[in-house]
Amino acid sequence: MLAAVPATPPTNQAQGTGRFLASWTGRLGLLAIAWGLAMTGVSVLSADRRNQPPDNRPVQALDKGYVSSDTCRSCHPGNYASWHASFHRTMTQVASPASIAAPMDGLELTYDGADYRVERRGRSHVVTRKPQGAPASAYGAPREIVLLTGSHTLQIYWQETGEGRTLEQFPFAYLVAEKKWAPVQQTFLLPPDAGQFYAPGEWNGACMDCHVTQGRSRFVAGSRFDSQVSEFGISCEACHGEGREHIARNRNPLRRFALHLGGGPDPTIVNPARLAGPQSALVCGQCHSIWAFNGMADKIEWNQRGGKFRPGDKEPGLRWVVQPGGADHPQQREMLRQSNPHFLGDRFWGDGMVRVTGRELNGTTASPCYRGGQFSCLSCHEMHPAATDGPALAAWKTSDQLAPGRESDQACLQCHERLKAGIPAHTHHAAGSAGSSCYNCHMPHTTYGLLRAIRSHQVSSPTVRESAEHGRPNACNLCHLDQPLAWTADKLAGWYGQKAPELSADDRELSAGALWLVKGDAAQRALVVWSMGWAPAQQAAGRDWLYPYLVFALDDPYAAVRFMAGKSLQTLPGFADLAYDYTADDARRKEAMAAAYQKWRRELRPPGATFRAQTILDPAGQFRPEVFARLLRQRNNRRVFLAE
């Protein structure tokens, strides 16, 4: 048998293999295989390095039960598309060339005694800083810009601190529409001497409470945080609850089809549209409200392990929604009063109406509509429109994410059906006019935020009392800016039987808009300056007399008021191309103000125009000096800090 074993074939095979390997084809083949193996190794190693979480910023780490929006996408592509198009997604983003709205490479800015320079390095942008005017060699260590907040109005940038995942603000924000850089504190309604708006670590300690999904700031020690989020931005699970169980249960197609055919709710996930009004509103209100922690222990719990609220809950979890005047949470109220005596005043008007944006739950729950138990944010807004093509989504997100038809009176008429037949009789304004719009009277622009006036979300009826006693501009005079409060009181008494309050001589004789702008506090001035650029107000009150007031406001001590004065002035004929830098120093602002005034006086003031005395202008259009000076002396110069 052994002898029968052929000895030659293996040798031949070996010779054959050897010959092949010795040939050029074989050598090239070997080289190709070696090259392929080397490249695979490099790919594996670089992928491994890329997958290492960065250590200089908060990172995504799914909390228990969370799965992230990427997982929701495969089964809910339409809902994913509308969320992806929304500003909720872009509330917080990891900084990258794609997410940064501003041209930053080579940017050089100076503010408050320091020069800042931004350079792009690969996919990152880094900031270096030196004392103003020092040589270039004085630039300090580069700090990477790692996260950003916002995408369409303002973009605020966060940079590493060298303290773990603790962040600090880049001192400038980018005004997206205006394509302009401004110091962060000049993008909020703050006293001019307020200083840096966000302290180092404030993003971790406060912002991430609401600007991410299920964030845990995870304080370590000193100023060091090891922050984690389930997802940057506000994603699916913020409003629908954790998705892990939902996904596990719905891997079964029979279950899914039973739900599709039955049309009933899926108990493994929360659909805010199916919740009762209060619970549905709280889903949005978990962030869109003025809230405070129940106590220090709850704050620590939140910061270490994340929020306890889940959509569908009746309470905000570890926190309480602060409404002035309530009797609830007496201990917490007292604590708030002691820790921050201005807490309520910085957020609410004197009559308890919320005055800062982003806190709509406070207004919604104070509305009479809310008492019916069905009213919620989704009565007017929708988060997932049916049409998911690009133009439809773009239109939806820029129209305040309103549901179809809700941008009109239909929003109110869906419940107030009996008014349908006689709207002009109810409003005493022509049908279809701005004065006949439900929104303009019942949700006027008395809330401030994002450098503009925003509609109040407390549905209410206008009164003169709210203006005379609490300083809150009423809906009538936000349009009829030129009329005195007494005029409004007469109308409301005649039309609706409202009892006129006691009014001062000025309130009886002088334009409410002019009074708010000259002697009001910064918050009143902000609202009235914005309203002066609002087309319905210009139509109702006339435009000619607005010029001197808006020019005057170009030099307001509050940057936000100046910004809106410039924007409103641009809406007036002749000033569309006004070049005005609201962040410029005093001298340049005064120069701009003088130039704008001269332009109006010489070029734009209609020849022969006369101005009514109630507007505090003389017939030629100049401020009546004694009255104006007296009112200016009476200006309410309290420090206004609107905590949006």
């Binding site: 592509p77 809902n79 598309a81 197609p253 089809f257 049916a386 049409a387 439809a392």
Partner: protein, 137 residues
């Protein structure tokens, strides 16, 4: 009509129908119809694309079966295998088509239930044909 002719005729008509569906889908693309192209219609787009692709491919399979029957002497398809090839070529694309007409978010409509039946028929028909072909001397 013999088996080969049946598969050839079916195959060519099925190819015509499937290519027509392809033209319809191209038209939907051409006019950018949201019903087909919107982000929320991903499942519909997948189902209709699958219906078009499977319909075309299975039409060609039936044409190949008819040509094989003519070309290979001694090769015959059993009635069951022939019926399975024809049935599968109808049910599988029809399942995708009907499943795509009505969708539920990321799930197709109930018409998709035809697809697995068609897939099983095809498996049987192709397997049986391969087996019978292997036995031909």
């Amino acid at each position: 009509m013999n088996t080969a002719d049946r598969h050839l005729r079916f195959g060519w008509w099925a190819l015509f129908v499937s290519l027509t569906l392809g033209v319809v889908l191209e038209t939907l693309h051409g006019f950018k119809l949201g019903w087909y192209l919107d982000a929320g219609q991903e499942m519909r787009r997948l189902m209709l694309t699958l219906a078009h692709a499977h319909g075309t491919l299975l039409a060609l399979v039936n044409i190949a079966a008819g040509l094989t029957l003519r070309a290979v002497k001694g090769f015959e398809l059993t009635r069951g295998a022939s019926g399975a090839l024809l049935g599968g070529a109808v049910l599988l694309p029809a399942g995708f088509l009907l499943g795509g007409l009505v969708i539920n978010g990321g799930d197709p409509g109930l018409g998709i239930l035809l697809a697995p039946v068609g897939a099983l028929l095809l498996l049987y028909g192709v397997g049986r044909a391969a087996w019978d072909l292997a036995k031909v001397k």
